[in-house]
């Protein structure tokens, strides 16, 4: 049977209370009538998904037979989605997870997202995954492939070798071959084919998702008082735990409500946030930033917004996905691309969002993030763009000092801009 993702049958999204947990909360008519209250309801739902477990197979909506884990940054979710698997972006355990097993498997000098993702595997939270794919973004992430293979041999554990050289002619062909290989391996694991029709359906669903996310970010740049960084982040992150078609419904509704918000702009500096491409800063940190600044652009979960244009709905679907990866991709410290130096794309973000300043963060023990932090701050100094350097860890629980730093930073910016 060719799996039919649920966008073909939206009614099937809420077959039971358990399954409904994967979809948006009940539509507005059944819930609150006040738009702000409804928005709160949607955001709470997103936050519950953030904190909640990976759904078990029996809690999946119609059309889905299992879940498929993938590590940041970018993963072509369409390939497993077309196979009737719910793509689950694994982002570590946040600041609520206590590590009991990972310490014996990973050194203390490894970044927190790798350690806590390993913990989630070892404590059984991820045992229902059909597979787990990591990428050559850094060496710690590559090692997760081996850790998975040794400890969870029943899952399809792989490193998807996305090219670090997208500039040599032939990169699209290589990427397409790598995607095709993954597709074949997933088919083997599933015991059924993933046909082109299903892939096209998934590409269409994700194209819609990409368009909605572009709208969300455009709204933030245009009227940041209508949607905070934390709210936008929660809306975006919800896709890591729900089908893309459901996420589309959620975004459509949320965008309507956000646009209609009646809010007055406050006296806050406009900033770009970078450093959230892999390990995720705690929500409290984003809230602290929102308290003092308007974050008009960021690289949080950039992998979920990696393809910057729609994937053309013509030709061969795998080729189309590969071509989009090579030709229409965002940027991050863990992707080399001669067409986009790290400094240049940061400055594009600053100019594109008309930001006054930058918050340059890096996750503790993250080699690529820490390397970039130096380069970015030197460059921002050179071009006289004000910036604040912060280091974070997903497991942080104390934010007072950071809040004070942010306050001082924002005040000095406002003073300089006045």
């Amino acid at each position: 049977m060719t799996p039919q993702p649920a966008d073909e049958n939206p009614a099937a999204l809420h077959r039971s209370a358990e399954q409904a947990a994967l979809g948006p909360p009940p539509p507005a008519e059944l819930g609150a009538r006040d738009p702000e209250q409804r928005l709160t309801e949607l955001l709470e739902h997103c936050n519950d998904r953030r904190l909640g477990p990976v759904p078990t197979d029996d809690a999946l909506p119609a059309g889905y037979s299992g879940t498929f884990g993938h590590f940041p940054v970018y993963f072509p979710e369409e390939i497993v989605h077309a196979g009737g698997l719910l793509p689950v972006n694994l982002l570590g355990g946040g600041n609520k997870l206590e590590l009991k097993y990972a310490d014996a498997h990973m050194g203390s000098f490894i970044c927190s997202i790798c350690r806590s993702t390993t913990e989630m595997g070892l404590n059984g939270s991820l045992k229902s995954l059909t597979g787990f794919v990591t990428h050559p973004i850094c060496d710690a992430a590559k090692h997760l492939g081996g850790i998975w293979a040794r400890n969870f041999p029943e899952q399809l554990a792989q490193i998807l070798y996305l090219p670090q050289n997208p500039n040599t002619p032939g990169a699209v062909r290589y990427t397409a071959a790598e995607y095709q290989r993954l597709r074949g391996d997933v088919e083997k694991q599933l015991g059924r084919p993933i046909d082109d029709e299903a892939l096209w359906r998934s590409i269409r669903t994700y194209n819609r998702n990409r368009a909605l996310l572009r709208e969300l970010y455009a709204l933030r740049a245009a009227e940041p008082w209508k949607v905070s960084c934390t709210e936008s982040y929660l809306l975006l992150r919800a896709r890591t735990r729900m089908p893309a078609e459901t996420h589309n419904l959620l975004l459509e509704e949320a965008l309507g409500l956000l646009r209609a918000r009646k809010r007055v702009a406050q006296d806050k500096p406009r900033v770009v946030f970078v450093g959230g491409f892999c390990e995720q800063p705690p929500l409290e940190m984003l809230e602290a930033i929102d308290d003092t600044c308007y974050v008009v652009d960021d690289d949080l979960l950039i992998g979920l917004r990696w393809l910057t244009a729609d994937v053309p709905e013509a030709g061969d679907p795998v080729w189309a996905l590969a071509e989009a990866f090579v030709e229409h991709a965002a940027a991050s410290p863990v992707q080399h691309d001669e067409r986009k130096t790290k400094e240049a794309y940061l400055m594009d973000m600053v100019r594109g969002s008309r930001a006054d300043a930058v918050i340059v963060t890096a996750a503790k023990f993250c080699e690529p993030g820490l390397d970039e932090q130096v380069a970015w701050s030197k460059h921002l100094d050179a071009v006289s763009v004000r910036h604040l350097v912060l280091e974070f860890e997903e497991k942080m629980t104390s934010f007072e000092q950071m809040a004070m730093q942010l306050e001082t930073f924002a005040e000095s910016l406002l003073f300089a801009l006045a």
């Binding site: 014996a104 498997h105 990973m106 050194g107 000098f109 490894i110 790798c114 390993t118 050559p136 973004i137 850094c138 060496d139 710690a140 590559k142 090692h143 492939g145 081996g146 850790i147 293979a149 040794r150 400890n151 041999p153 399809l156 554990a157 792989q158 490193i159 998807l160 070798y161 090219p163 670090q164 050289n165 500039n167 040599t168 002619p169 032939g170 990169a171 062909r173 290589y174 071959a177 790598e178 290989r181 391996d185 410290p333 863990v334 080399h336 130096t341 790290k342 400094e343 890096a362 503790k364 080699e367 690529p368 820490l370 390397d371 932090q373 130096v374 380069a375 701050s377 030197k378 280091e391």
Partner: protein, 451 residues
Amino acid sequence: MSTSAADPTQAPEGAVPEFNAQKEGQRLFKDWYGGLEHAKERGQYVANVFVMGNAVEILRTFDFQLVFPEINSLQMGVRKVSEEYLRDSEDYGYSPDVCSYVKADVGLILRQQKHPAGTIPKADIAIVSNMCSTFIKWGEIWERMLDTPSFVLDLPGQRGSSWRVRPGDAQHMADAQWIEAQFRDLIGRCEKITGKRFDMDRLAEVEDRVNRMVHHWNNVMALNRACPAPYNAMLDGLTYIGIMNVYRGTEEGVQFMRQLDEQLSAKVARGEGRIDNERFRLLFSGTPCYVSMRRLVELFESWGGVFAYSDYLTFAAGGMDAGELVYDTSRPLESLAEITALAAQRGLSNQFFAHERLAQQLREYDVDGIVFHGIKSCRFVSSGMADTRNYLTERLKIPSLYIESDLIDPRYWSDAQIKNRVDAFFESLQQRSGGAPGDTKIRLPVVGGPS
């Protein structure tokens, strides 16, 4: 590169001087650094390359002088000056958690390329592979600080466990095709930089020299399967891989490896070992601590423990220690891509699925125990180490020791702590074997196998 072959020994006239790998290695290194110092004034082009995944064969075809920044950094450790460079780099802004090789190199740039071995010329191109992801970040630092363009050589590695790529199969060909496309791109760039046309015949000649060198290198690696082991993989072996890298594809390199092969073969035939009383054969997994290299080896050899094999010798020599990795010089470029695809996967990608290769090496080198050296700032070797150790200990019941320090940062070497751990490890090995101190080689059974 200088091709002068001044005789380093003081042998009497007419007598053939005995080959001394250590001295000859030092002489070759000195020559190499001397060549670098004068490269620019001789009008030579310079390329930065790493020890893994580096396209040296192509660069030699264009007569590039090769700089190995990793070797520059480790040499700072060996010469006990690394801390100064590291501190400069930290003052500049780099976190203590960043790879110490990178930081030492940033320190070098901040000191206008003044290295204890001489001034390092600024490169015209850098070849950075994805084998260690930090290579790419390192290349980006040169782009910024020195204006050196980098070429990222993307080498697809082992995708999953039990990943078998057989020469010529569809997966191997797909990977090789991608690598060949990149080599062609690189050749175009080298032509632009040097103004020279690429010469396929010269590539074949370089490959022929690499083939001969690798032939002897394979023998050298295999010779340490003998008991007693003729050399210590983590001391003598470090000189050997240095030459494998710096002189790869040169006549001097071939000659060194041939002489080494002959000398070690004779040693094995005589039943001579690296130490007189080899009692425990060990496998070293990870990279050395170059600031305390001799000390580390001494701690083990004082107990009769010799490192018969180290995965460092495999990945840090580009993964060429396998018989099937021979270039077909009748089709030099295609063959270069095909062999590079295989060597990359062997050399390092299976670092990420290390249990498979290590299980095999434990048997091949008849090893009694395995020593894991975790390097705080090198996630490439260290991230999966504790997990690999658990896996091998459980499956193979192989005794193991885990120690932690750094490649070249002396601030992470804690002598007393490491000595205690090494001593405890040998006491337990001794107990396990039932041998008395002073006994020579004690055989310990390795039971089971990975399932």
